[in-house]
């Protein structure tokens, strides 16, 4: 591992007046920052604040920027990721960047394969080394498994292992925990502590404030591509930092107060789901619960507990064979296609926004109106006036920040993209709204807005099921919380009973 930097006075990274422009956006606007050796430095900011862009410059991915970069006092200008790696910078990307077809070991060593000479691969050595590395992360997956067969959390661990392999003295982590829950996160933190011990400089990006305050020596806040402040966690608090991030107060109101629970809208009895090719017969086993109008039901659980599958089964998307009874508003249903679910008054905001939600080839308006097109037709033809009107209405209703329905969806920040997708479903006027990890990778400000939106919808009489990897989120938002563990229902807690403690306990049961 890297040696402790003997000269602690020269900052190991100096970012001097860096500006990055993209067509139509200034992603970074004269940002200057100095990071000292061995420090764990958190960078926070809203979606689109420019955090990832700054990190990509440091990692040699973005090369066309203005300004200067100094590593350990020497000016550098990385032309590729290789240059950055050679200078001792490695990065864990925000998005998963793995090759599905290759094995875990091959992915970890991608671009830096161990050779037995003459360009021939030394697969055995890579296999062994990869296994070792994964064990330090507390992960038991065999290194020759194809990555495609791993769950998202394990894939994230592979991504982390890939960055650790280089044993560089600067490590950038861009939202490494967005796909991890409790146990894995804790293991990762232990690894981070180890690295810190060895003097590795860590740049840590996260939207989860507890993590930031737990890990960071200093916190830098970016807003709209500008440097706002660098603070020490001891001298500030979460509210102050969020204020710096969004430029206004985020009130942590207790949402559930005064919601009136209505009649039952959804009842699930003995629901089971078989998975083809799985060792276990049932992926979900004997799940029964009810949902009422005006109620928010949370689902907690570890990665792979089956939360996504449960929502998918309800929405008629299950791959495998299902068994059990689902009744919606007193009517027995068994959806075989999301279309049927939609028509019956159900809506699902899926967890992987980019893969399962966005249509990057069409504009914001079309993204919003897609699922409710039928309502916007006159005589069989789409009325562009009605369409425009509907999109504008949704934009206003949800406070989506965009130049208008004609804007490209890719111009929007993650949180606003998420709101567009929620808007799409709200336009179908569902009775039951399923939100699968709706705040993943979304900044605190946008999160709060989504909470408020859910609360509002709930008050209007909608039944909502929400999953989340963050327990505090469920605790503030939900009337009741169900816990899944390995496809089984291991507990249901009312708002008053639920604590992080007993939820965790049920999740690992």
């Amino acid at each position: 591992m890297a040696k402790k930097n003997p000269n602690n006075d020269v900052p190991v990274i100096e970012i001097d007046c860096v500006t990055q422009r993209f067509p139509g956006v200034v992603a970074l606007d004269g940002v200057s920052l100095a990071i000292s050796a061995g420090e764990t430095h958190a960078i926070v900011g809203e979606n689109g604040a420019g955090k990832s862009t700054l990190m990509k410059i440091l990692a040699g991915i973005n090369c066309n920027y203005q300004g200067e970069l100094r590593i350990a006092g020497c000016a550098v200008r990385f032309a590729s990721t290789r240059d950055a790696e050679a200078a001792g910078v490695s990065i864990i990307h925000q998005e998963l960047n793995l090759v599905d077809e290759l094995s875990v070991a091959a992915n970890i060593f991608l671009g830096r394969e161990l050779l037995a000479g003459w360009g021939f691969l030394d697969d055995r050595a890579m296999h062994d080394k990869a296994g070792e590395l994964l064990r330090t992360l507390g992960c038991e997956i065999p290194p020759d498994t194809p990555v495609a067969r791993l769950r998202v959390g394990d894939q994230q661990l592979v991504e982390i292992a890939k960055a650790l392999l280089l044993e560089n003295r600067i490590l950038i982590m861009d939202e490494p925990t967005s796909a991890l829950t409790g146990v894995e996160t804790e293991r990762l933190f232990r690894v981070i502590a180890d690295l810190k011990q060895q003097g590795v400089t860590i740049l840590y990006i996260s939207h989860k404030m507890e993590e930031v305050f737990q890990l960071a020596d200093r916190i830098t806040v970016l807003r709209d591509g500008q440097w706002i402040a660098t603070v020490a966690p001891a001298e500030t608090n979460v509210t102050a930092v969020t204020h710096l991030m969004v430029g206004r107060e985020i009130d942590a109101e207790a949402f559930a107060a005064g919601r009136a629970i209505g009649e039952e809208v959804l009842r699930v009895e003995n629901l089971r789901l078989a998975v083809a090719g799985s060792v276990k017969r049932w992926r979900l086993a004997d799940i029964s619960f009810k949902l009422h109008a005006g109620e928010i039901l949370g689902i907690a659980g570890l990665l792979g507990a089956g939360r996504t599958e449960l929502l998918e089964v309800l929405f008629g998307m299950a791959e495998g064979e299902t068994d059990g009874e689902i009744s919606l508003c007193g009517r027995n249903v068994n959806f075989s296609h999301p279309r049927e679910a939609l028509q019956a008054g159900m809506a699902l905001v899926a967890e992987d926004r980019k893969r399962l939600g966005l249509f990057e080839n069409v504009d914001v308006g079309a993204n919003i109106t897609l699922s409710s097109m039928e309502k916007l037709t006159a005589g069989g033809f789409v009325s562009s006036r009605a369409e425009q009107h509907a999109a504008e209405e949704s934009i206003a209703q949800l406070g989506i920040r965009t130049s208008g329905p004609g804007a490209a969806i890719t111009e929007l920040s993650g949180g606003n993209q998420q709101k567009c997708i929620i808007a799409r479903w709200l336009r179908t006027q569902p009775k039951v709204l399923l939100l699968d990890d709706p705040t993943r990778g979304i900044d605190v400000g946008a999160k709060a807005e989504i909470y408020r939106l859910a609360d509002e919808l709930c008050r209007q009489g909608m039944g909502i099921i929400v999953t989340s990897s963050e327990l505090p989120e469920l605790l503030t938002l939900c009337d009741r919380i169900m816990v899944l563990s390995d496809g089984r229902l291991t507990g249901t807690f009312s708002r008053d009973e639920a604590t992080e403690q007993n939820l965790m306990e049920a999740a690992t049961r």
Partner: protein
Amino acid sequence: MSRNDSNSSNFARWLQRYGNELGLLFAILVVVGITAGMDDSYRQKPSQNAAEILRQASLLGIFALGAATVIIAGGIDLSSGSVIAFSGAICTSIMIALAPVDDAGNLQTRDLGAGILCAAVVGTLLVAVLIGSFHAWLITVIGLPPFIATLASLVGLRSLARVLVQDVTAAVTTQGRNTQIYVNDASFRSWGSRWWIPLVIFLVLSGLMWILMSKTVIGRHLYALGGNEEAAKLSGIRTDRLKWLAYCVGTVTAAIAGILYSSYVGMSNPATQGMGYELNAIAAAVVGGCSLSGGIGTIPGVMLGALFLRVVIDSVAKTVKTNPDEFQGLIVGALVVLAVAFNELRDAGALKKQFFPGGLGVVNIFILSLLGGVITAVMSSDHKLVIGGSTAVVILGVLAFKKFLEMRSRN
């Protein structure tokens, strides 16, 4: 934002949105202009030439529309050339099967009557729907990649058409097995030969497709399907049915083109008819702005793409006075590359772009010079070596200078 500002940005957006169509229109005008300058037949027989180009562009455009629909929906249809041959065979087979027989026992295809013609067309289109449904089934239910499912049709259908034609002629005519079917009915013959009939069919189809793709829910859903299939399914879109529709549009338009081609040549000749046309249709769609990764493309773009290709081919025939057929591929290939490259580079700050980075760049400076030299050499009638050589040297000099500029701007 001021009113004015939003107006000008609206205009910019409009330009951005229809940039491809405008670029194609401009390119078509340039090609026509150059051709008119180099050869006087456009000036002396404008209507005759226009009619012929429009007829040809319409024939290509009809099944390019189908190819574009499939491409926009995120698939690809390689079968159209064979569907053209197959539908021609089916259409003429139905005609001779129903045709009256004269006293000598010979088939009379001179005057078939509306009933038989109608039956033939309807039968052919029905068969096309079946083929499209089969593609959709292979792709959505069996899970074959569209490339393979339609490739199998490409090789299989032509073969089936060849065998069928022989069996049908053996069964129906007195002369026994034949590899071709002739139909001489005058009104059938007129469909593909009168220039305005394909044109009207093309315009009507284009209009319908334009309404379908941009004014109806189905069109919206097709774009969504091509853009992100999984998300489309999750958004409550019946993606399987949409694919069914798209592949049927692909085969039905090809079948219409097949009927018209058969009518044009007065027969069905499945061994060679429509051979390789699938690539023309795909090229027209892509030149017209469709992206092969799906979700992008417009009907007017495809119309102009087809027109552009035919104008270029006609221009080659007009301006290259020796062996135009041999030069055609070269020029069409070069222009397709230029059209699509222009489209790609339009957005991407073309002027600042590095065209010759690294070793690949150096090699390609030589390739482009060589190519330029060879092409001018083969196109000139005398002193081939001198002309080709000097062209190559000039191009080499210009590109090397560009590379020098690029390298300097790097530092």
